[in-house]
């Protein structure tokens, strides 16, 4: 006990400190700090609101949309905003009959009743579109059947099959069973090239429709490749920038920054001018006789176009963080290493390089994350095999209007990046990141 006098409570508690007007110091301090905290909070409030509105809320909505699609469950009237549940009879039938039940006359009666509702609400297009996402060719079945729904007489099954024998397709019923609930995981299944078969089991989609997994892998591989290329090209440039006398390095810096300040589209189209088969590079190679006119190199509208253009466009994001860590490195460290007998390679490897690692980490992370989400450059110069997953997300946002699938793809991409960020944090440590 005698060895550890601090471990017990202090024997003499000093009299309570108070401010001049007699309030306890602790309370006064807390009050003053609370006011400061409130002020600080009010100062960041605009930014917080901005981030919430423009970032957190949309991402939350995106994630929600990827599992939620009520096209086959609720109809919202355009003018009045009245929400009417649809397909209610069918939902009841699905609830009463387990997976795999052969649809009977009762089921078809429920379907016809729901089609009448759809007709009155002018919603067959909406409901059909939802089913069409998962079973191609369904949309017109709904619009056609709804048009005649009021004239359909029992026996309903026979009447429906007369309209279109595809109504008996077990896959269609499986899709409808899934779609009556607005919450579904099917968009995520589709985003990894999977679907549910008629029995509800998960299987891979037909070989000639598999595309998303391929593109996720390609996006990952190309992004890693581009990150590596920017590193290989950027490291010597950054070193040169950091070691040259100021008046030269400023000039060089402008050469790095000038393209950085130029519009992305301008830079991409410049690469098109350079790389196309009638472009500057090919013309030059032909004119000096390295290539014959018939054998011009195809450097664009394929994967090479994407790699070359993106490497150039993302290069400043590697150079700048590298430069910012190289600039303050004291050259006498390397000199000291040399004077102690290290070869120049050893001095670089053991002394200089380790000091630049935070910059490499920052640059690589920046370039990689930007590359994973790159959209416009691959769209312009990527041709067919240089497309990335973002191009398909854009396709589903703008053309197919299957926003739920786009959201699911985007959510997977987001999850992938967060996972890589986590791995990075475990391997290198996020504290080692230096952005400048």
């Amino acid at each position: 006990m005698a060895d550890t006098p601090q471990s017990g409570p202090a024997p003499d508690v000093p009299t309570r400190l108070t401010t001049a007007d007699g309030k306890p110091l602790k309370a006064a301090l807390a009050k003053a700090q609370a006011a400061a905290r409130r002020r600080a909070f009010l100062l960041v409030l605009p930014l917080l609101a901005f981030i919430l509105i423009t970032f957190v809320v949309p991402i939350g909505q995106m994630l929600h949309r990827s599992v939620h699609n009520e096209g086959f469950a609720v109809h919202q009237d355009i003018g009045s905003g009245v929400r009417t549940p649809i397909m209610t009879n069918l939902r009841d039938w699905f609830a009463a009959n387990p997976q795999g039940t052969e649809p009977d006359e009762v089921a078809y009666e429920a379907l016809v009743k729901d089609l009448v509702v759809l007709r009155d609400l002018k919603a067959p297009g909406q409901a059909g579109t939802r089913i069409n996402y998962e079973r191609s060719g369904s949309r017109s079945m709904f619009t056609k059947a709804a048009r005649r729904a009021k004239k359909i007489e029992p026996p309903y099954k026979e009447a429906m099959l007369e309209l279109d024998e595809d109504w008996a397709d077990p896959e269609l019923w499986q899709v409808m069973r899934g779609a009556v609930s607005p919450y579904t995981s099917n968009f995520y299944l589709a985003a990894v090239d999977r679907e549910r078969d008629a029995a509800g089991d998960i299987q891979r989609v037909n070989e000639n429709r598999r595309v998303y997994v391929t593109l996720f892998v390609r996006t990952l591989v190309l992004s890693i490749l581009i990150t590596a290329m920017t590193f290989i090209l950027g490291y010597p440039i950054a070193h040169l920038l950091a070691t040259l006398p100021l008046r030269y390095s400023n000039l060089l810096m402008i050469l790095v920054l000038l393209p950085f300040w130029t519009s992305l589209l301008v830079r991409t189209t410049s690469w098109m001018v350079l790389l196309q088969s009638q472009g500057v590079v090919n013309d030059l190679l032909v004119s000096i006789g390295l290539l014959s006119d018939d054998n011009r190199l195809q450097m664009m509208y394929n994967r090479w176009g994407t790699i070359i253009a993106m490497t150039h466009i993302l290069l400043p994001f590697m150079v700048l963080p590298l430069y910012s860590v190289m600039r303050p490195i004291n050259p006498s460290y390397v000199r000291a290493a040399r004077s102690l007998g290290a070869t120049s390679w050893t001095a670089f490897r053991r002394v200089y390089f380790p000091q630049t690692v935070p910059g490499i980490g920052a640059g690589a992370l920046l370039v990689f994350i930007l590359a994973v989400g790159y959209y416009i450059t691959p769209a312009l110069v990527g041709g067919a095999d240089g497309q990335l997953i973002s191009n398909l997300i854009a396709f589903h946002m703008q053309k197919s209007l299957n926003w739920s699938l786009a959201a699911a793809l985007a959510a997977l991409l987001l999850a992938g990046i967060l996972a890589l960020y986590w791995i990075y944090d475990r391997l290198i440590g996020i504290d080692n990141l230096k952005l400048g």
Binding site: Q61, G79, G125, N208, R209, V211, T214, R218, A384, K399
Partner: protein
């Protein structure tokens, strides 16, 4: 989304308030030379005749703001110029006013509007104004022999060189089948079967390594003029503008062209619905459709307009033979089947994307 829609709606309120003043109608179209042709042929004469002012607004795709505005309950557009598939889809989703076709005037010779318009040009919620087409165009200087048919496009042995194709299953698959000898009238029957789709992709496989894909309509004339491709699919109006307007050495192969409509629609809740309907009836009459054709080589949607189509705005080029609807150009023409694509779009594009990526 709701929040954003609400913000957008409030921003649009002021615009809507201005537009709903009496004697105005707001027309949304695609911009560029196409909007210009509409301003000259429709807007100016309409204002002259009725005194109603026409506000011209442009969008990348007028169908997109319609959905946002109607769903927010704050519509500022009275008339929009949209593509066929969008017109059908928006109508199905209840976002458009239905148009009473009896407001459309008859042709000068008395033929009723219903008979005068090309088949399919009149829909529940939409009235077509132009017919445009996807054609094969080629560079007359770069092509060693001039292609004469759609089959030549897919024949890189006899007609070597790169090909430009639109990066979309729509139109591409149809052209592939026509290039393989399927007559236009049977294309959609063949494409409706799995074997037909396989066949179309097999044709595309044959030229896959030579394809340069384009997405924006302005790209193919550029690719052709640069010599980047020897032949390309393209929108016929763009090729006409580059060839006649700018003197580029481009020509069109009309064999196997795919015709499509652009249509006028009225969004549900349009502030000047009556003026909008007047505008549509006026603009799609025989003379007005013919007038528009003198500004861009898109065909009028009325048969009776064909005879009235005159000279290009340069004052010397006869427009009639440049129209996709000219008799000589229609010998093997396919009319885009929107219903086929509304149904099969998801599946075929998925397969198309997979085919591209592998």
């Amino acid at each position: 989304m709701k929040l954003r829609t609400a913000l957008m709606a409030s921003a649009l309120t002021s615009v809507a308030a201005m537009a709903s003043a009496e004697g105005e109608v707001t027309v949304m179209s695609w911009g560029g030379a196409y909007t210009k042709s509409q301003v000259e042929a429709y807007h100016k004469p309409f204002t002259e005749k009725t005194g109603v002012k026409v506000n011209s607004v442009d969008a990348d795709n007028p169908a997109t703001p319609i959905k946002a505005q109607v769903e927010a309950g704050n519509v500022s557009i009275d008339v929009a110029d949209v593509e066929f598939s969008d017109a059908v889809r928006l109508c199905d989703e209840g976002l458009l006013e239905e148009i009473d076709l009896s407001i459309l005037p008859a042709a000068p010779d008395g033929t009723s509007a219903e008979d005068d318009f090309i088949e399919g040009a009149l829909q529940d919620c939409a009235v077509a104004n132009i017919v445009w087409s996807t054609v094969v165009a080629y560079n007359t200087e770069a092509a060693k022999n001039a292609p004469g048919s759609i089959a030549d496009f897919f024949n890189t042995e006899e007609f070597p060189g790169k090909r430009g194709l639109r990066k979309s299953a729509k139109a591409t698959l149809e052209m592939a089948l026509m290039g393989d000898g399927v007559p236009a009238s049977e294309v959609y029957d063949v494409l409706d079967t799995d074997e037909g789709v396989d066949r179309a992709f097999a044709v595309l496989d044959g030229i896959k390594d030579d394809i340069v894909w384009w997405e924006a309509g302005a790209q193919p004339p550029q690719l052709l003029a640069d010599g980047e491709v020897v032949m390309s699919t393209a929108y016929n109006g763009r090729i006409f503008n580059a060839a006649v307007g700018e003197g580029q050495p481009l020509d069109i192969v009309w064999d196997g062209q795919i015709l499509d409509f652009d249509l006028f629609v009225v969004p549900k809740g349009a502030p000047n619905k009556d003026a909008a309907l007047d505008f549509i009836a006026f603009s799609t009459d025989t003379q007005r459709l013919a007038d528009q054709a003198s500004w861009i080589s898109y065909g009028p949607a009325r048969k009776s307009s064909g005879a009235l189509v005159g000279l290009y705005s340069d004052g010397k080029t006869e427009m009639a033979p440049h129209m996709p609807t000219a008799e000589a150009n229609l010998s093997n023409a396919l009319v885009n089947n929107f219903e086929f694509w509304v149904d099969k779009d998801a599946e075929l594009n998925e397969r198309f994307n997979a085919w591209l990526a592998n």
